[in-house]
Amino acid sequence: MPDAAMPDAAMIDWAMLDVAVLLSIGRHPVSGRARRAATDAQALEMALALRPRRLTAIHAGPVADGEALRAYLGMGLERLTLLVLPEGGDPVEPLVAHLRRLAPSLILTGRQAEDGEGSGMLPYLIARGLDAAVVPDVVRIGPADAPDTKPGSANLVQALPRGQRRALIVTGPFVATIHPSAPPARPSAFGPARRGVIEPVAAQAAADLFLSDCEHRPWRPKPKLMRVKRGGSALDRLKAATESKSGKGQLLVNPTAEAGALAIYDSLVEQGILP
């Protein structure tokens, strides 16, 4: 972000802002073409929006498919470190070794790789290697605003299922994985993508023995799980399959408006919807 406005004072204070982003190569679900991975791009977007003092973007993998990485450079990144690994090498060890030298205060990653094993373990293994905290499914990162928190702690907002949000405070350096409902990534521009520099760094990596022990085959969709009730008599099963569920509920015929409202209110309280 070359010509951005000066970040405000609180921003500079907070955690000295040294950010590393781990970027993987994604795969389009339909065409199978290499592309920037969706949540990794959102992680880079969040890193750029934080306006850090130092921003390091790292990819670890074989040099062969490095071209797809240019899509990240097109987002306004000047340089990107490529840890060159042999085909099938485990990226965790070289990444931990590289990050230990950089010692960033914040590491951003996507949630799960779009290609390869995609177990979502990498952020956790890196945090383990660096002795940092892990926070999953982050949608917002900011400086801690409560006055009593220790310096170097950050306020995060985490996405929960059903659209809910949770605020958290984290102390010390941490690894955050980005949730898909974080701010969308900016589009990648062609010019900066060409101009950006990819710096290859040779690294040592052990082969992943577990993965070569697995068998792989194309995924075939499985039949959807039907919620049929088994057991009971034939009559019960027929009823369960054909009848729409009818609540054996309470019926109030022509109550006064107040009585009706009270019944609804009590029912909502009973369901735990209203306090």
């Binding site: 199978g32 790789a113 390869g116 995609g118 177990s119 979502g120 373990m121 956790y124 945090a127 383990r128 905290a133 892990v134 926070v135 999953p136 499914d137 907002v157 299922p161 059903r162 659209g163 809910q164 949000r165 949770r166 605020a167 958290l168 984290v170 102390t171 010390g172 577990f210 697995c214 068998e215 792989h216 085959r217 194309p218 995924w219 959807k224 799980l225 919620r227 088994r230 009971g232 008599s233 034939a234 009559l235 569920k245 609540g247 054996k248 509920g249 019926l251 109030l252 015929v253 022509n254 408006a257 009706g260 409202a261 019944a263 609804i264 209110y265 029912s267 909502l268 369901q271 919807i273």
Partner: protein, 420 residues
């Protein structure tokens, strides 16, 4: 045919002959008279009694249920009244398990979720099909469920043993503590497998455990057998198979929850997870829920929906009510067609199929296309002027009244209670 037919005494010549035989002397002798109480042969089948036992309904036409066991027979149902057959589910006890399978449950909000049940079902597959035993139901392994709250609700889901975590852990979010508790349990019980739901929280704890223990996590298991587990990899385009590893997470909706089983769910008293959990110094803290704008949520995500149909004319009250309740507003197709609500707020077959916990419907008739959209809703409340509307039949609480009168009354009531 309301009286059960009187049956003749069934003669069993072999049994009678056996009863008359005296084996006292050098050779068997037959008595002239049959013994006073002739033995009844247990193995003889009385077809009339079997029919009588299987009869579940006499009118309007006889209905038989041949799966009912004859042991519970002898009480023919009253004529014309349907009596559901409730066979007692036999309790399965695994007294001396050869190995253990741990199922770490989420129990969001204290309830056993559908995903939790699926995890237990997957754990049962591993426990029952193990190599140490064989045969269904007693493969030698036992399923140990671990969650906050008591294990009573888990007996029917298939849990043999239950480890209760402290109740206080249910409300606050400290994943490091749960991970430490799991690691302590793994050392204490040395289970063969540990299964987690692949949900936001369960998957997070599983990965923490895997990273600390240095074990390989087999994440998002889609298919499971005693000697093979499969998962989706490469963005869902490949299937990866391997022997079941120690740590696995179970994908949502991959296994059918168990049904018609009863296990012990015997509580195990273990202090280790608690101690290990309390010792940890969490780096994540100060967790609190943030208020979210209910109308910004998509209909399929939200938990509480306030819905309007053609019977609503007072849109100002409707909007105020939505705000007062903190509910996401939605409507039937008629309402969206008329432009009272945007199109993405339509519930039903051609709108959104909602999975809310509670659905409050004002002036909706309950057309089949609309009801299809709310099949998954647990609690429905309907307000309609028409007693015979389908929505009234579907609802758990139905109020036959004018929506325009009930809405302001409800708003007033909520404001009153809030200030009180």
């Amino acid at each position: 045919m309301s009286q059960p037919p009187t049956t003749r005494r069934r003669v069993d010549p072999r049994a009678e002959r056996a009863a008359r035989t005296v084996l006292a002397g050098s050779r068997p002798r037959l008595l002239r008279q049959p013994a006073a109480n002739a033995v009844v042969n247990e193995r003889r089948r009385d077809p009339r009694a079997v029919h009588e036992a299987a009869l579940v309904q006499r009118q309007p036409r006889p209905r038989y249920d041949w799966t009912r066991d004859t042991a519970s027979a002898g009480t023919p149902s009253a004529a014309g009244v349907f009596v559901a057959a409730v066979p007692a589910i036999p309790l399965q006890v695994i007294a001396e398990p050869a190995y253990l399978v741990l199922a770490m449950l989420d129990r969001p909000g204290g309830e056993v979720s559908e995903h939790d049940r699926q995890v237990i079902a997957a754990a049962r597959l591993l426990a029952d099909g193990g190599s140490d035993g064989g045969g269904s139901g007693n493969g030698g392994g036992a399923v140990v469920t671990v969650s906050t709250g008591s294990g009573e609700a888990l007996a029917e889901a298939g849990s043999d043993r239950h480890v209760a975590l402290p109740d206080g852990w249910a409300d606050d979010y400290v994943p490091e503590r749960r991970a430490a508790a799991t690691l302590a349990l793994m050392t204490a019980l040395s289970p063969r497998h540990v299964l987690f739901p692949d949900s936001a929280d369960g998957g997070d704890v599983a990965r923490r455990v895997a990273a600390t223990a240095g074990e390989r996590l087999f994440a998002g298991v889609q298919g499971l057998g005693p000697d093979r587990a499969t998962r989706q990899s490469a963005g869902g385009s490949r299937e990866t198979g391997h022997r079941p590893t120690t740590l696995m997470t179970v994908a949502a909706d991959a296994f059918a929850p168990l049904d018609g089983v009863r296990h012990e769910a015997r509580p195990l008293d273990l202090a280790t997870p608690l101690v290990a959990g309390e010792e940890i110094l969490p780096r994540l803290g100060g967790a609190r829920r943030l208020a979210v704008d209910p109308d910004a949520l998509s209909l399929s995500e939200t938990d509480f929906i306030l819905s309007a149909g053609n019977g609503v004319t007072d849109w100002r009250s409707f909007a105020e009510l939505g705000e007062a309740l903190g509910a996401t507003r939605a409507g039937s197709r008629v309402v969206c067609d008329a432009g009272h609500l945007p199109r993405d707020r339509q519930v039903g077959a051609s709108g959104t199929v909602v999975g809310a916990r509670c659905y409050l419907a004002f002036g909706i008739a309950g057309a089949p296309q609309h009801l299809q959209g709310i099949t998954g809703v647990r609690h429905v409340i309907a307000v309609n002027t028409d007693l015979h509307a389908e929505m009234i039949k579907r609802a758990d609480l139905s109020i036959v009244a004018d929506a325009q009168a009930v809405m302001p009354a409800l708003i007033r009531l909520i404001r009153e209670r809030r200030h009180a």
